[in-house]
Amino acid sequence: MEVYSTGYTAETERFGKEMESSTKKIIPGFGLTFGITVTFLGLLVILPLSYIVIYTLKLSPERFFQVIFSKRVVTSFALSLSSALIATLVNTVMGVVIAFVLVRYEFPGKRIMDALIEIPFALPTSVAGISLTALYGERGVMGKLYSHLGISVAYTRLGIIIALTFVSIPYVVRSVEPVLNNLDHSIEEAAGSMGASRSLIFRRVIFPEIAPAVFSGAALSFGRCLGEYGSVVFIAGNMPYKTEIVPIIIMSRLQEFNYSEASAIAFVMLIFSFMILFISNIVSSHNIKIKAGIR
């Protein structure tokens, strides 16, 4: 069962004039349910979020740009975006491999592997944070291993990437798995019978089918990594200009009584998140349109 269903399955939008029908009047309960939903969203989501805008507007435009484009914030955004991107790339490649393995092959311990995918969702981020720090720290097992290779992990960018990778493992796997599942084998067999090699089949037949799911899974994973705080705060060392990701900057601005600057940075973060959400929605609705054969 999908954990984070990235695109909604084919919305049965009725197409063709004859079928067009506004069912609002027939099925009772629209007024009540719509009313409750909108008021609830208004109070619990829109009202609080508006405070970010209210406090951002308290800054004069110059001050706003001064804050956003200050060297420390820019490097922090660069760090956050690049680390999130790398983590997402790792999880995209591994996600497709794992999804493929889980759907296509039978092997001992398959159920265990399937359960392992869920753990990053289940595990609280602070627990992940301290265990990764211990594991990759100077005294940790992996930490020692890496230090033999002359690489230090905890308190460096690599540590951040590892934490982000851990947190976002399930997104691509869970997004690709169902698509692979109900991909009918006949198209592969058709291509195979025509002498296509396995890699050609994967490239030309399978990948186009799963590409939208891979993309929306990656988009979700990227959004999640961008905002991650719990696991990173322990392992990152939070050195300005080196390992200070954006959520940590927001947190420190908050601790410096600086609501407006924290809101300004949060505002820019929100824009990034909405862009990602927007792109992933477009891809999934595009995906639905193709699937439902509607142009």
């Binding site: 009540l32 420390r72 720090t133 720290g137 100077e138 300005p240 420190s252 908050l254 009584f257």
Partner: protein, 342 residues
């Protein structure tokens, strides 16, 4: 009709989650007389152990003298963060923060009377501390004084002055040393400070986090920290670490105060005042000393002389012209610290 009923049920569940009822029984000047009462003490990072033992002492003492059973709830974190939360609505009855500046910022937000520091003896500091170095066993990098910290081969650990009170005292101690070394030549002093912070490998948000990075995760060669924190670390990890007293440090005054508006609404004014006064009791000063805090009572200080050497220069905040000036000059946006880091 049935739908109206279910809607009512739904809203009542939601409301009950939000409302937290509290009963009222007060004596004539507004102090609560209920049989069981809680007191919230918002403090900074390293005082966890101190207040654990003091709270047990005071709760017993209060029970004996008034029959009321008291439950003191602690909250620890970076001093700046704690000040923000109290100013923002965290209902603290008393605040025991790392520096007067943070308590002043709460006072400025209207929750504490402006002359709060005069309400208790010794500038409302029942205990104070100073800033020392903590090095690995045997002092491999031969660190004697602040000069050694700027050497390129030395990596230093200190928290972020923007969020941690302790880090501000660390900064001021270093600054005092530089002023004396370069007899107030500001460019040289600035150069010294920049070299010092260039050697900082991890900038944690609170003093305790910084200590954890140094001890648990083996970061850095020297940790600039509170004297009490250094002794606590030594006690925990028998002999792995060594304390070094620099030639110049600061008298780190850590004042305490009640939060006027909160004690009024909670009706805990009398208890809170006695709670803080209690810190000056002889037994309490002993508790402070045993937790490696320098007691304000001279007699107890001498008794624990072994832990609290005084053969070094202790600059006070007044020598810098008070927190207002210091905060503006050093720690505000674009201040000296920011310039060190840009």
């Amino acid at each position: 009709m049935r739908r109206k009923l279910s809607l009512l049920l739904l809203t009542s569940i939601l409301m009950s989650l939000v409302l937290t009822g509290c009963g009222f029984n007060r004596d004539k000047d507004g102090n609560t007389t209920s049989e069981r009462v809680t007191l919230i003490n918002v403090s900074y990072d390293p005082t966890r152990e101190l207040y654990e033992s003091y709270n047990r002492y005071f709760e017993r003492k209060w029970k004996k003298s008034t029959g009321q059973s008291l439950d003191v709830i602690q909250s620890h974190g970076g001093s700046g963060k704690q000040a923000l939360e109290v100013a923002n609505g965290l209902k603290a009855d008393v605040v025991t923060l790392a520096l007067a500046y943070d308590t002043d910022s709460i006072a400025k937000s209207g929750l504490i009377a402006s002359d709060w520091q005069k309400r208790l003896p010794d500038n409302s500091c029942p205990y104070y501390s100073t800033i020392v170095f903590l090095v690995r066993k045997g002092n491999p990098k031969h660190i004697r004084d602040w000069d050694d910290l700027v050497r390129p081969d030395v990596s230093v650990l200190t928290p972020n002055p923007k969020t941690s009170g302790g880090a501000r005292w660390n900064y001021l101690a270093a600054y005092a040393y530089a002023l004396e070394k370069y007899d107030n030549d500001s460019t040289k002093v600035f150069g010294f400070m920049r070299d010092l912070y260039r050697n900082v490998s991890v900038l944690d948000s609170g003093a305790r986090a910084s200590t954890t990075s140094f001890t648990e995760n083996g970061q850095g060669d020297v940790l600039i920290c509170w004297e009490n924190e250094a002794y606590l670390t030594e006690k925990n990890d028998k002999g792995d670490y060594q304390i070094i007293y620099p030639s110049v440090s600061v008298k780190a005054e850590t004042p305490v105060s009640i939060v006027d508006s909160v004690v009024k609404s909670h009706g805990t004014k009398k208890i809170a005042e006695n709670y803080l006064k209690g810190l000056y009791d002889e037994r309490a000063q002993e508790i402070c000393a045993r937790n490696y805090y320098r007691p304000s009572d001279q007699r107890v200080l001498d008794k624990y002389k072994k832990y609290f050497p005084t053969d070094f220069k202790m600059v006070t905040i007044d020598d810098f012209g008070g927190w207002e000036k210091v905060a503006k000059k050093h720690f505000s946006n674009g201040g000296i610290f920011d310039r060190i880091y840009s």
